[in-house]
């Protein structure tokens, strides 16, 4: 088997006395879409924030392409490794423009730290055209607060796209979206895979997840309870059944 793109080994994360994740091990291969499934509060967002470098794990190891990460893990390192994340909620600065949100934290600057406003505008515009934002009246100078929920999600995804991620992580990217917009997001995920990226996404809609993921990771109360290829699971109904079984088993334990 090939070396995974990224691998978690026995990752534990606690916030004070709350154990959000306990001994989580899982991996993402190159060129695959992984669906991360679990109930509310299971620890999905926490896992994704560790992946993105926002939280450092309390213990455990992160391996990138067969190499262990040494000396701390943070957002800059995750970005450098090609991990781009689209967050669950409030991921944008709403009083600011599309362009400054796309480049948030990674502005295009001259050596003195002066922002190359024109360049950012042009790049944002090119990107918006590429992902089909063009039919709208929006320009890169449009303020986020004037966009709909789906359009905002589009900006968040565009941001991940711009930096040519090797792994795109999406935390419930379709919760606020209409059916058509949801389909757009899924098409984008499939397109990203075609281009050679990997995708990890969280969804509460198991039927959707079943349709587009190549592999599933089920997480329950902070532990990974199942990892399975799509070929091992007959239908979305079976996936739902698995989840119910784990939930019940947990209650009796």
């Amino acid at each position: 088997m090939s070396i995974p793109l990224i691998e978690f080994k026995n990752i534990t994360k606690s916030f004070g006395s709350v154990n959000a994740l306990t001994n989580v091990s899982f991996h993402i291969n190159e060129h695959e879409i992984v669906g991360l499934i679990g109930d509310n509060g299971a620890g999905k967002s926490t896992l994704i924030k560790i992946l993105a470098g926002v939280h450092a794990p309390s213990s455990g190891e992160i391996w990138l392409r067969g190499r262990r990460i040494e000396g701390g893990w943070n957002v800059a390192k995750a970005h450098a490794a090609g991990i781009e994340t689209v967050y669950q909620d409030r991921a944008l600065a709403v009083q600011h423009t599309i362009a400054s949100n796309i480049f948030m934290g990674r502005e295009i600057t001259s050596p003195l730290g002066l922002i190359r406003v024109r360049k950012q505008y042009e790049e944002a515009e090119r990107l918006m055209r590429e992902i089909g934002f063009t039919s709208r009246v929006f320009t890169p100078d449009s303020v986020i607060a004037t966009l709909s929920g789906g359009e905002r999600q589009g900006v968040a995804i565009a941001r991940a796209l711009y930096f040519e991620a090797e792994l795109i992580v999406l935390d419930e990217p379709t919760t606020a979206l209409s059916l058509i917009e949801t389909q757009k997001v899924y098409n984008f995920m499939l397109a990203a895979k075609e281009k050679g990226s990997s995708v990890l996404f969280i969804s509460h809609n198991i039927y959707h997840a079943y349709d587009i993921a190549d592999r599933f990771v089920i997480i329950d109360r902070g532990t990974v309870v199942m990892q399975a290829d799509k070929s091992e699971i007959a239908s979305a109904e079976q996936l739902v059944q698995h989840m119910k079984d784990f939930a019940r088993a947990g209650h009796h334990a």
């Binding site: 991921a91 944008l92 709403v94 934290g105 990674r106 730290g113 922002i115 406003v117 090119r126």
Partner: protein
């Protein structure tokens, strides 16, 4: 093909669309400017003799730049989602260091250094208390203002330091001198130009530099900024340090202009400076701000006092009109642009 359509609408057609975009982007500063112009017209109509006399403007410009040096950095702190009430005492304590160094025979330029260092130090301490210790900036800086002023009072027992010879210092000529034969206003106070330069630097830093843009993003959405790898704590500390530096410069300037350091130096800046920040269009809720607008706010606040006396009213009216202008300006800003958060 890719970049043909929308790259430079501003340059290609200085049209109505470009003008509208400019107005939309700068509407807070523009509405502050409108308020200022209206005030100026009213004052001039009320007393043409005073407000067509260059001496009036010279008198106002003597003290106005001192406020500019604290207001510009305050815009950064407010945009970052915090507030700083400690700057009056920072002005006092940093200019105390300047005065003491000067008194002990230091070169006047060298004497500025300890003032700046103290400004930076206060900014670091306040910033650390707010970010790493997690104190409310409102309360922490209020406490810091008392604390530092208390140190001054204990150290000086209320005694100031006078510098009757300060006008012979090259530092005075450079930063607080007069420009003879300046257009319209003879003997123009040179520090007005330094103040305007500071506003320009502040504008570039706020709108075109990574630091200022991060300040705004942090104030708008700290979670998102963190997720995108911006160090929220250090960006906020940076804003407080900038206030410290501005306060030190204001303090030094105040000593030069007044030829005296008082234990109360800086005290009078608190309310007019904060009023200027908000009257100028920097909103209280963080995430955005306007350096130019708030600087115009300084002009508004400073002209009110002179205008009221000039209009033949007594000084008793000053506070009333200050309050009136503050509230009317805020109502103006409120209807001028939507509030997004």
């Amino acid at each position: 093909m890719a970049t043909k359509t929308l790259t430079s609408p501003v340059i290609r057609q200085p049209s109505r669309a470009a003008l509208r975009a400019f107005v939309r982007r700068n509407r807070r500063a523009l509405s502050a400017l409108a308020v200022f112009i209206i005030l100026l017209v009213i004052f001039t109509l009320a007393n043409p003799r005073v407000f067509t006399n260059p001496i009036t403007y010279r008198a106002i410009f003597l003290n106005l730049p001192i406020t500019l040096f604290v207001v510009v950095p305050l815009v950064f702190v407010v945009a970052s989602g915090e507030i700083d009430l400690s700057f009056p005492a920072t002005v006092g304590i940093s200019s105390w260091a300047f005065a003491v160094a000067l008194q002990s025979g230091w070169n006047s330029f060298a004497a500025v250094i300890p003032a700046l260092l103290i400004g930076v130090l206060v900014g670091l301490v306040v910033g650390t208390l707010v970010t790493y210790v997690g104190l409310s900036s409102l309360v922490a800086t209020l406490g810091m203002n008392f604390l530092l002023r208390g140190i001054i009072n204990i150290g000086t027992e209320g005694i100031g330091i006078q510098f009757p010879q300060i006008r012979q210092e090259p530092l005075w000529h450079m930063f607080a001198g007069r420009i003879e034969g300046f257009p319209f206003i003879n003997n123009f106070p040179v520090h007005m130009l330094w103040g305007l330069l500071f506003v320009l630097i502040g504008w570039v830093l706020f709108n075109r530099h990574r630091f200022g843009v991060h300040v705004q993003l942090v104030g708008d959405n700290p979670d998102s900024a963190t997720e995108m790898g911006i160090n929220v704590k250090w960006v906020k500390i940076g804003a407080f340090v900038f206030v410290g530096v501005g306060a030190a410069l204001a303090g030094v300037l105040s000593v030069l202009v007044n030829q005296t350091w008082w234990p109360t130096t800086g005290d009078g800046l608190l309310l007019p400076s904060l009023a200027a920040v908000f009257v100028g269009g920097t909103p209280t809720w963080g995430g955005i701000g306007t350096v130019v607008g708030s600087s115009i706010g300084v002009f508004i606040i400073q002209f009110i006092e002179t205008g009221i006396i000039g209009a033949g009213l007594t000084g008793y009216f000053t506070q009333f009109f200050n309050g009136l202008v503050i509230i009317v300006s805020l109502i103006g800003h409120r209807f001028n642009g939507p509030r997004y958060r």
